[in-house]
């Protein structure tokens, strides 16, 4: 893994210095973030704190939401 990459949902993702909010804006997610939870390096980041989170190369970001389930 290059030093300029993040791991987003288990995949390599180019990191251009963006923070968490910018990263999420580039994904296919509802604009208001409703129905979505985010963890950075295994720690859940509450929605109201997304803006404060800066990302560093190598950070692992998981973005989850509801899918069909039994």
């Amino acid at each position: 893994m290059s030093k300029q990459e993040l791991i987003v949902n288990g995949r390599s993702w180019p990191h251009r210095g963006e923070g968490l909010t910018e990263l999420l804006a580039g994904m296919d997610l509802p604009a208001d973030g409703r129905g979505v939870a985010v963890a950075v390096n295994g720690v859940i980041v509450p929605r109201e704190r997304w803006r404060e989170v800066k990302l560093n190369p190598g950070d692992e970001v998981d973005v989850v939401g509801a899918v069909h389930g039994g």
């Binding site: 987003v8 949902n9 288990g10 995949r11 999420l24 994904m27 296919d28 997610l29 509802p30 409703r34 129905g35 979505v36 939870a37 985010v38 963890a39 295994g42 859940i44 509450p46 929605r47 998981d62 973005v63 989850v64 939401g65 509801a66 899918v67 069909h68 389930g69 039994g70």
Partner: protein
């Protein structure tokens, strides 16, 4: 008929049927099936989203229809993974209910009850309303209740088998001893299985594949809703005692071809 609403994990529900949202032929059939079943609480899973452009907002679709969500921890094999998944679900879906599944292996999908008890305790302590998917063991059901779970959800048969309730004695015993709602979760194949569960004294039935994989899922969803209602009515009506010998329901006296003393003429 009087209302038969019941309380589950802070919700007041009219319907006794809880429906899973997986494996339907299409989104529209899923939504039509939910309507036909009258289910008010539906299960969802929590998975990574946002990288595939076809991903849509199931959360929004279901909430817009006034449905309550019950996120599951399906696919978790350890207490740690299940707890983390539940915490993600709480953050994403803004609800503190969780259908707690901790699975022992992929072949049986049976609950790992040691890990289940561990995860249930941790989640209850974190303020969750825990609805654990468990075995039909009355001892484990009691332990889960003692830990503070909001309900217990014993399996009727392994997930996705459609075999119906394999151990009605245990399910009935769990119902008799429980101080929290008992919901048969998994193993239901058709409407009579739902009615049977309700007649044993269950408070509700949670099913998915039996509807999703029926030839006509919407029709089967309606059947399941009716069966839950019928089974509940039968349970509250109180069934007649079982007998081993026949007992005529028509009057015995006054039959033609008999004398007044009942002897054959």
């Amino acid at each position: 008929m009087e209302s038969d609403s019941w309380q589950l994990a802070g919700l007041t529900l009219e319907s006794r049927l809880l429906l899973g949202t997986a494996r339907y032929p299409s989104r529209q059939i899923l939504l039509d099936a939910i309507s036909a079943s009258n289910a008010e609480l539906v299960t969802v899973s929590v998975r990574r989203v946002g990288l595939e452009s076809e991903s849509d907002n199931l959360y929004q679709v279901l909430r817009e229809r006034g449905l309550e969500l019950l996120p599951n921890t399906a696919g978790c094999f350890t207490a740690r993974d299940a707890v983390f998944t539940a915490e993600l679900a709480r953050e994403a879906l803004e609800c503190n209910r969780v259908k707690l599944e901790v699975i022992a292996d992929e072949d049986t999908l049976l609950p790992d009850v040691e890990a289940l008890l561990e995860a249930a305790g941790l989640l209850v302590d974190s303020g969750f309303e825990v609805l654990p998917y468990t075995t039909d063991d009355p001892v484990i059901a009691r332990r889960l209740e003692d830990l503070g779970c909001a309900a217990v959800m014993p399996l009727g048969a392994p997930i996705g088998t459609g075999l119906g309730i394999q151990n009605p004695l245990n399910i009935e015993l769990i119902c008799k001893r429980a101080g929290v709602p008992v919901i048969v979760d998994a193993g239901v194949g058709t409407a009579s299985d739902v009615a049977a569960a309700m007649e044993l004294g269950c408070d509700g039935v949670l099913l998915n594949t039996a509807v999703a994989r029926a030839r006509d899922p919407v029709r089967m969803a309606a059947a399941m809703g009716h069966a839950a209602q019928a089974g509940r009515l039968a349970y509250t009506a109180g069934r007649m005692p079982r007998k081993t010998l026949a007992e005529a329901s028509s009057p015995w006296s006054g039959r033609v071809g008999t004398r007044d003393d009942g002897e054959a003429s």
